[in-house]
């Protein structure tokens, strides 16, 4: 039982990291119609910035994390203004390649500015607690809560606020949205900024265990993309829920079946699932008319 709870708590933490990254990807997908493969690189880059601030100022980790998210927000705005906003007439596949160009830029910039050595990033809080025989760090609890709170906040905003309405309108049809007076370029820019901030938070959550390095987000990036496929690209909540599912599945598979092959088994299971649900678990089928 205690092992089960332990896995459950671990899953909530990793699931939260995946969910933050996935939410960033789906926000951008819905407003700019591209899968942002650079999400991981942008997050990694800003994690480096945060770590540098930490080393330079000695501020507490959570304050640094907020600054890192702010810098990510800014990077997101710049990326949109300088590149994405100019690519409105570019076809979807070519847009994906633009995000590859972004990967190259950030992957080139990071070692130039921050060197190639991995850096350490501390936990937000230290100490641990035992719940029903399961040992859980305060940091993990904090991460779980931060993840859930931020995502709940965003979902409430998406449903209730004027901004949320504008995002949803842009997502469903940006041309009509623009005609109705919604500032779609601003909405798209906001998505890139928020996505970058969410990704950076995810990066800083895994940083204490993974260290801050060039490839720190590679795995998270792939799982976040898979979460979008598993949950479906049509809703905002689908990928988030799928990210948690993947988090659970991955922890359970590696404990009960095989830790070496857990990723492979997981990917196969995801593949099988989408074969049966080609538009994701929460997507609807779109009927083509002849």
């Amino acid at each position: 039982m205690s092992i089960f709870i332990q896995i459950l708590l671990n899953s909530l933490e990793t699931g939260g990291v995946y969910a933050l990254a996935a939410l960033g990807i789906i926000l951008i997908f819905r407003t700019s119609n591209t899968t942002n493969y650079a999400q991981g690189s942008i997050s990694m880059f800003n994690a480096f910035i945060a770590t540098y601030i930490l080393m330079g100022t000695g501020l507490p980790a959570f304050a640094v994390a907020i600054l890192g998210m702010l810098s990510a927000f800014l990077v997101g705005v710049l990326v949109d203004r300088i590149v994405i906003a100019r690519a409105q007439n570019v076809n979807p596949v070519a847009k994906q390649i633009i995000t590859l160009g972004l990967i190259m830029i950030f992957l080139g910039l990071a070692p130039m500015l921050f060197g190639t050595d991995p850096l350490q990033f501390p936990r937000f809080v230290y100490g641990a607690h035992t719940i029903m025989g399961a040992n859980i760090s305060y940091n993990a609890i904090l991460n779980i809560i931060i993840g859930i709170v931020i995502m709940l906040f965003l979902f409430i905003m998406l449903q209730k606020s004027k901004w949320g309405l504008a995002v949803r309108a842009t997502a469903s049809n940006d041309i009509v949205a623009r005609m109705m007076g919604i500032p779609t370029p601003l909405i798209t820019m906001g998505s890139w900024a928020i996505a970058a901030a969410l990704g950076t938070l995810a990066a800083l959550m895994i940083a204490p265990t993974s260290s801050v390095n060039l490839s720190m987000m590679d795995g998270v990036q792939i799982i976040a993309l898979l979460a979008c496929v598993l949950g479906g690209f049509q809703t905002f909540y689908g990928p988030v829920v799928a990210a948690y599912i993947i988090g659970f599945a991955s922890n359970f598979i590696s404990f009960y079946i095989s830790s070496i092959w857990s990723d492979s088994i997981l990917y196969v299971l995801i593949l099988i699932t989408i074969l049966f649900k080609p538009n994701g678990l929460f997507g609807k089928k779109i009927v083509k008319k002849v």
Binding site: T35, A94, I103, I222, I274, L275, P278
Partner: protein, 346 residues
């Protein structure tokens, strides 16, 4: 004398584009000779060889994306599979290169056909990421099947020996790569201009029309995947026998995206475009940017500039760099016109 020359040009023109491809191949084969004379640096040759290898891989992807309208981010995984099979079969099993080539292309092809089955249910972004998952499964295999793959530390092979006695050196291997590339260009050209090519195009343009005209979508999707994966695996085999080293982290999403970039940047549905794209994506950093002052001196700068270059090309030539031809023609036309009007005035 002049008359004979004209005849030669006539033959050349009548055999287009084959004659273009073969001329390109001959020019490439001269390169190792120039290296031997010290006119070109050896490192250039290595870079060009990998450009050519990636061109082969990208030609397959161009067939898949450009003609059948499907997408794959599994390219790197299949190419990697080709390298490992080639290394294992020639080094560990000590079998001849020819047999290794056959098996190393056929095995990934079968897996590619299975991937094609996925494409019957899933499309667009879903397919892209599903194929990415398949590629990642393969990559995990490269790490964990240590008996065959040697795990993280990677695996080595040597230059190929043809027919059991013809040991190719560096130059020989380079020439072999060129021959394969030109062959693949010709075969690809033939394929896209055959009824199969038309069927693939129709499938992409209108699934309904394809079915109404008797085109079996099932068959042609699998075929497109089979060909694309076969090219990837062939690229892998050639890579293994030229670079002589493979390791799991060489075959990641970034490489798949790079190969997709090759066809988008060069020109979708264009064979010369693909080659051009490969030069931009895989050649520009090593051949040009790193040789430049300042940019070449800073670590990572070449990479950044290539990223910027890719973005700029897509923003200005969303249909591919190969379309620069039309613009150049237009400029030429304009200049001539201006000249004419100028001379008329005077």
């Amino acid at each position: 004398m002049e008359k004979r020359e004209n005849k030669l040009i006539q033959v050349y023109k009548s055999k287009k584009p084959y004659s273009d491809y073969i001329l390109f191949g001959i020019l490439l084969i001269i390169l190792p000779i120039l290296v031997d004379f010290g006119l070109i640096k050896y490192s250039y040759l290595t870079t060009i060889a990998s450009i050519l290898i990636f061109s082969i891989v990208a030609l397959g992807l161009n067939l898949l994306v450009g003609y059948s309208g499907l997408i794959s981010l599994g390219t790197a995984g299949f190419m990697g599979l080709g390298t490992y099979l080639a290394a294992y079969i020639t080094k560990d099993l000590n079998l001849p290169f020819e047999i290794s080539l056959l098996i190393s292309v056929l095995v990934p092809m079968v897996i590619g056909i299975l991937t094609g089955l996925v494409s019957l249910r899933i499309e667009g972004y879903y397919l892209a990421i599903a194929t990415l998952a398949i590629s990642e499964i393969l990559r995990k295999g490269f790490v964990e099947f240590e008996v065959v793959t040697n795990g993280f530390s990677g695996k080595q092979a040597s230059y190929p020996t043809l027919l059991g006695f013809l040991e190719l050196g560096r130059n020989g291997s380079f020439i072999m790569i060129v021959v394969f590339l030109i062959g693949i260009m010709i075969l690809t050209y033939n394929l896209i201009n055959s009824y199969t090519g038309r069927a693939l195009s129709t499938m992409r343009g209108s699934e309904a029309a394809a079915q109404a005209m008797g085109i079996n979508i099932f068959k042609y999707r699998l075929l497109a995947f089979a060909v694309a994966v076969a090219y990837s695996a062939l690229g892998g085999v050639l890579y293994m026998h030229f670079v002589k080293y493979t390791y799991p982290n060489a075959w990641t999403l970034t490489l798949s995206l790079n190969i997709l970039a090759v066809i988008i940047i060069g020109g979708i549905r264009s064979i010369p475009g693909t080659i051009l794209g490969a030069f931009v994506v895989f050649g520009v950093p090593d051949l040009i940017l790193k040789r430049l002052p300042i940019i070449g001196d800073i670590d990572g700068a070449a990479y950044i500039f290539n990223g910027v270059l890719i973005i700029i090309i897509i923003l200005f030539y969303p249909l591919g760099l190969i379309h620069i031809r039309n613009d150049l023609k237009k400029i030429k036309f304009k200049l001539r016109k201006r000249k004419e009007s100028y001379s008329e005035q005077s």
